[in-house]
């Protein structure tokens, strides 16, 4: 697999799995406004995944749905941060949204400078939409700043957030979050959490029930 296809799948898998996790709040968020917000954010993230899979599919001579749903869970390239099932814990959910958006911003800004015009163009398009996700995350992070449960959640998820990025990009994330130098124990992508497999089973269940069907 080419370096470009690997990168596209890494980004797409992060966005798909996080979109799936965010969608778990639909209908049960603490306020109606957050039901709408999480549903919309999830839709955007899955839309970004679709566009990234479509680019990868052109390189790998397959289609976006096959990449999203027909690989075994062990072949997904997502980072542990997005796999965690945080659905009944608002403090952790907001901490993840905040840390993910900051980490994602570091890599999107790098991708916008890419020599590959398709990658740079798509990164710039994704960035326009992410502006609103960042606003939402920052709004909540500042509202919860003095809440001990939120501070503990950020502390706990920080090593996972570092795992979103390549080692060379981690210092930039630490600077933006205002945390000291990176911990040695970043939860890197590669090894999956036990929470990925049940998510994968649910996400692919209908498609697996009728292999090859045209939907």
């Amino acid at each position: 697999m080419s370096e470009r296809a690997r990168l596209l799948l890494t980004l797409a898998d992060d966005e798909l799995i996080l979109g799936w996790r965010d969608s778990e709040w639909t209908g049960i968020a603490p306020t109606l406004e957050e039901d709408v917000a999480f549903s919309s954010i999830a839709q955007n993230e899955i839309g970004h995944a679709r566009a990234l899979y479509e680019l990868a599919a052109g390189d790998l001579e397959t289609d976006a749905d096959s990449l999203a749903f027909d690989r075994p869970p062990g072949e997904y390239r997502c980072a542990p941060l997005v796999e965690l099932r945080l659905v009944d814990d608002w403090a952790h959910t907001i901490a993840r949204r905040y840390l993910y958006e900051e980490a994602d911003r570091v890599r999107i800004e790098a991708l916008k400078q890419s020599d590959d015009p398709q990658l740079a163009g798509l990164a710039a398009k994704i960035d326009r939409e992410e502006v609103y996700h960042r606003m939402h995350a920052e709004l909540w992070a500042s509202r919860l700043r003095d809440e001990p449960r939120f501070a503990a959640a950020v502390e706990e998820l920080w090593p996972y957030a570092l795992g979103i990025l390549e080692p060379a990009q981690r210092a930039e994330l630490a600077r933006r979050i205002g945390r000291p130098a990176e911990p040695a124990h970043a939860h890197k992508r590669g090894a999956h959490t036990p929470e990925l497999e049940p998510l994968w089973a649910e996400m692919t269940e209908v498609r697996r029930s009728a292999p090859g069907a045209q939907w």
Binding site: S40, Q118, A124, K125
Partner: protein
């Protein structure tokens, strides 16, 4: 442009498709989610190229997660086929579309239908401070005494605001 392109060459099976005819036909395709505006009003058609029967159209998505994209592609293919052309619709996923691409006519149609059109893009990305400013006008009563209720709304492209003057919520197009 010349005025005789309606004429059919002797012996040809059908009239030649022209770019003008394609643009006019696309202007009849409503946006699948907000049918008061056409795809031309939305500014999502980047290019129309006619080469014999082949009609190549470049379509840019508004938001990447918008489910209307596939419906737009199918509607374009049907329109071109009705004109006698062979459609080749290419989806361009770069950042060439922004809400500034919505035409003046499109913005007015949105406003008349109760959707506040997007504000023009500033030099930098939109900020929360801007969303909380008085730059947003209620599409019903015209008041700028409006406040942000939710950055997100019923579709990815819309936010929800509240008008203090006529005391009702309205949908505000996000600026991207």
């Amino acid at each position: 442009m010349g005025g005789d392109d309606g004429g059919t060459a002797v012996g040809a099976g059908r009239a030649m498709v022209t770019a003008e005819a394609v643009w006019a036909a696309i202007d009849e395709i409503p946006d699948p989610e907000i049918p008061v505006v056409s795809l031309v009003d939305l500014g999502v058609i980047r290019e129309v190229e006619v080469d014999g029967e082949r009609v190549r159209i470049e379509l840019t998505p508004t938001f990447l997660g918008c489910p209307a994209l596939e419906a737009m592609r199918r509607a374009l293919e049907e329109k071109v086929a009705q004109l006698g052309g062979k459609p080749d619709v290419e989806v361009i996923r770069d950042d060439s579309w922004s809400t500034d691409c919505i035409t003046a006519a499109g913005r007015e149609k949105l406003r008349a239908a109760g959707f506040a059109p997007p504000t023009p893009r500033a030099a930098g990305p939109t900020t929360l401070v801007q969303l909380e400013s008085k730059a947003f006008r209620c599409p019903y009563c015209g008041s700028t005494e409006t406040r942000l209720e939710n950055i997100f709304g019923p579709t990815p492209c819309r936010s929800i605001r509240w008008c203090e003057s006529c005391r009702q919520p309205f949908e505000q197009f996000k600026t991207i």
